[in-house]
Amino acid sequence: MNRLNSVAIKRCVAYVGYYKKYFLFSLLSAVISVIASLLGPLYIGRAIDAMVGTGTVEFSIVFSILKLLLIIYFLNSFFTWTLTYFTNAISYRTANRLRHQIFSKINRLPISFYDKNSHGDIVSRFVNDVDAVSDGMVQGMANMLTGIVTIFGAVGFMVYISPKMTIVVVFSAMGTYFMARFITKKTQSLFKEQARYLGLLNGYAEEAIAGQYIIKAFVYEKKSLDKFAKLNQHLYEKGVRAQFFGSLTNPSTRLVNNITYTIIGVIGSVLAIIGQITVGDIASFLIYSSLFAKPFNDITAVFTQLQSAAASAKRIFYILDLHEEEDRAYSKSMRIFNGQVTFDHVSFSYNVKQPLINDFNLNVSPGKRIAIVGHTGAGKTTLVNLLMRFYELNKGRILIDNVDITTMPRDELRHNFGMVLQDTWLFTGTIRENIAYGMPDADNKRIIEAAKASDAHSFIRRLPNGYSTFITDAGANLSQGQKQLLTIARIMLIDPPMLILDEATSNIDTRTELRIQKAFVKMMRGRTSFVIAHRLSTIREADEIIVMDKGHIVECGTHDELLNMNGKYSQLYYSQFVQQN
């Protein structure tokens, strides 16, 4: 196991510290149950010895031993149960704690974390990796605790009965251990290879299935199957080897155990013939040897489980160790601003190599409408990220009503903006809850007012359950236009002084857009608005148009001013109507 793995495991173990009481109980349970299980064979041997032969069985001894055995076995089973119960409790509670921690951690991370990482991967860390750590803990802890106690206890008992035979057992157990280690080592690389090919096959299948339309359009089915079959054949070859060697662990340990069994039987018999031990001792020993070998057998399984737990733990700690965004400013009451926005010598870039916005200045009076236009990927959305403080500036300041936004709490800043994005986001819940998202305690009247103001009321009323209609699966039961109307209603309810509309209609067909446009116009009245759009027709009316190109702001002005400039804007504008041929 490499060093990083053991660091990760140590950190996992630290979580056990939160549950000291549980841990003490499991330790106690382990000691009692193991000692009980070790006492069993000793007394069985004694009982057999008490059955001297025909007519000479000492019944009183036999019965008192059997009574003792009954108690011992009861204790054994009961404490085995509590051991499992407490280790389960520790590991499930740790899983719960880890999930809590990751969740509250990612809520303190900057938006760039969400933008840069695949969401599927993050979900998988939450679900699969936490499960792997928790499984590893159950297995690891229960086996470790009982294993250690068993090894020491069994050696003690065996030495007590016969030191000579103990040596045989210890050596054979070591044999089991090295055999298991050898096979795991050997198979681990084989399994890794198999997993690699499975990953390749998985990736190819994903592409091919998701891209079936293209495959059919290009008459590529045959080639695609050939590719798949080739990867599959590789997987077969690796799979047979990995599975064969992997499945040898059990027979091999069984071989060592059977050999041990025979040797103990033979040596024990010889010693019994010489008169050094009794037949009952042989019986006890045969049982001890298998008890003693068990932790060594299991060590392989525990080892693999710990490896995968450590790998998962690393992925979890990676998130928990990420740098958080700071939010020192704090004020009790939320100020509501007038909506004057000033960009003061603003510079920003996502990475150092590509400067994006350089020394940008703009002053927007309350209630004005600003449009941002430009090519795809020109960095229009960047301005939104900066206004909402999703990303931090490199240089300069953004002021709202002459207050630097970095001096106010983020919540206060964002509370002053209403934001409508291209991707409508609705959460699982009723329509009412979704509209009241920004103001959970809003009463029904205000919610309906907001819906009416955004033209959503009429379609909501027509839904089978009206405002109580449950939205599932990010709103799969609603049309794009309906979803967008709901997000507008959401903003109408909180009535913010400033608005951001980022490509809010680009997923909607133009006839539906016409209806939504009306709602937008109503919403923008009297509010400082920032509008980003592809369709130039929607932004002609703006008080100020910012034209961006390759991340830079190249032109600023009203529609007519910009057309007269004959620059980028007029180029963009007229390209809509380029005569073909």
């Binding site: 069985i44 679900v127 359009a217 695609s224 039987g265 919540d411 934001m419 041929n581």
Partner: protein
Amino acid sequence: MFKLAVFLKAYKKECIVGPIFKLFEAILELMLPTMMVFVINNGVAKHDLIYVLHMGEWMLGMAVLGFCCSMVCQYFAARASQGFGTTLRNTVFNHIQSLSNAEIDGFGTASLINRITNDINQLQLAVAMMIRLVVRTPFICIGAIVMSMLLDLRLSLLLWGAAPIFAAILYYVVKKSSVLYSSYQKKLDRTASVIRENLAGVRVIRAFSNVKREKKRFYKTNDDLMDNALSIGKVSALLNPLTTFVMNMVIILILWIGSYHIDTGNLAKGEIIAFANYVTQILLALIVISNLVVIFTKAFASSKRVCQVLDAVSSLPKTDNGLPEKDSIIKNCDFIEIKNMFFKYSSTGDMALSNINVTIKCGETVGIIGSTGSGKSTFVNLLPRFYDVSEGQIFIEGRDVRKWPLYKLRKKFGIVPQKAVLFTGTIEDNLRWGNENITDEKLSEIIRTAQAAEFIDELPLGLKTMVERGGMNFSGGQKQRLTIARALAGNPEILILDDSTSALDFATDAAVRSEIRKNYQNTTVFIVSQRASSIKYADKILVFDDGTLTGCGKHAELMQQCPVYREICLSQLSSEEAYA
């Protein structure tokens, strides 16, 4: 489950020989404790050292032979199960390729991949276990009981008595925990969906300062999940202690009753030791059975999921029912002709397209416009026969599309879909999909036509740049331009651009269209778009509304005659632009 057994046919030999060897190993293993009885009863009791050593040699030999037998079995099991999985995987993949988009969407891509990998792996495991353990385990169980019956019939009754108790415990724990487990799965899904919602909606959540509320929501589902896990733990923790306890009780009973038999001289000491050993073996076998039950229940669920895929009947047309090669094409007819065409996706559903009649000449540019769900994409998907019409006919070069050999028909088309899909490989690999033998000159020509040259040239590796999975390393606009170039590489007679320039700005969009027009004059081009400006200058504009064709003609004509078209144009263009 048994339906899938056909895939084992090729491995008949392995499936029969494997278990036989395993059985042989089990017999050897069962004989060991009995041999020990002889050692103790004959050797120790009679002080016969030579006999003890002699028997020891035999026992060692049996242990080694048993190991060899099980090695043979493991090998056969590995070959049969992996081979079974490989064949099944190929078959399922091939079947998936024959399904239509609707069927694939019905399953979901993620679910199909899961079925190809995880589910088939589960089945593979079940096959291996079947060969390795299904014969061995019951045999050890029954064998141990039979051997003990041979030793002492009355004592063996205790084992018979214990067996149903074992079974009852096993049944109770498995049943109880499997119910809890399925509710755990559901709760895990819910937790994951809350996380997913939070990841996707982070901007909105923060904009509304709702982090605290989302935390509360997550903590609740997470705590719910833990409670469920804890109750599973409580039940499953019972299995081991309970079965061990029963086993130990049997041992105590054996000692108790055995002591009377020894006293009366009906039993020897060695036999008691052997009995204890058999009890342990039975217990171990039962634990294996409980694991097997879990594996087979999982495999059963998996086999159902795999069979669902194999049972899905493709709604796509069969591939090779075209007419034999002959030059029956009537030259002077219209290039594409659609007559009284109706289409619906399922036999019970509503018509997606009704009564469409259009003729299109070779080399024309056809614009298609309409609101979402009006049938635009459906219409273009019918031309290369992704679906068959429900009524009416589609002719290409005077021949019904259903009479064309499918590969020949589709080779006529270059298709750029709405969603820009690229495959892992270099940019060049992707572009050569359309035509493997395209020359480098021709390749750079199509790249220029698709307006992709500017960004490809800026890449340090140019055409050799790797496209990552799903084209993650390219922007939406770049991907769209690459898919356009890919379609052009096949030098298609008919090019379909299905809303495939939505991520391009107007200038680039216009440039792509005018370059295509200039360089591909004989190609008939279909442009599906939501932008009026993209189709305004087409030779023929088709206006779809709710599955019907409400307008067909040039821009100026439609502005006069088609109210739907007029409404669309006026919503996007100023009136002087619209009427220009």
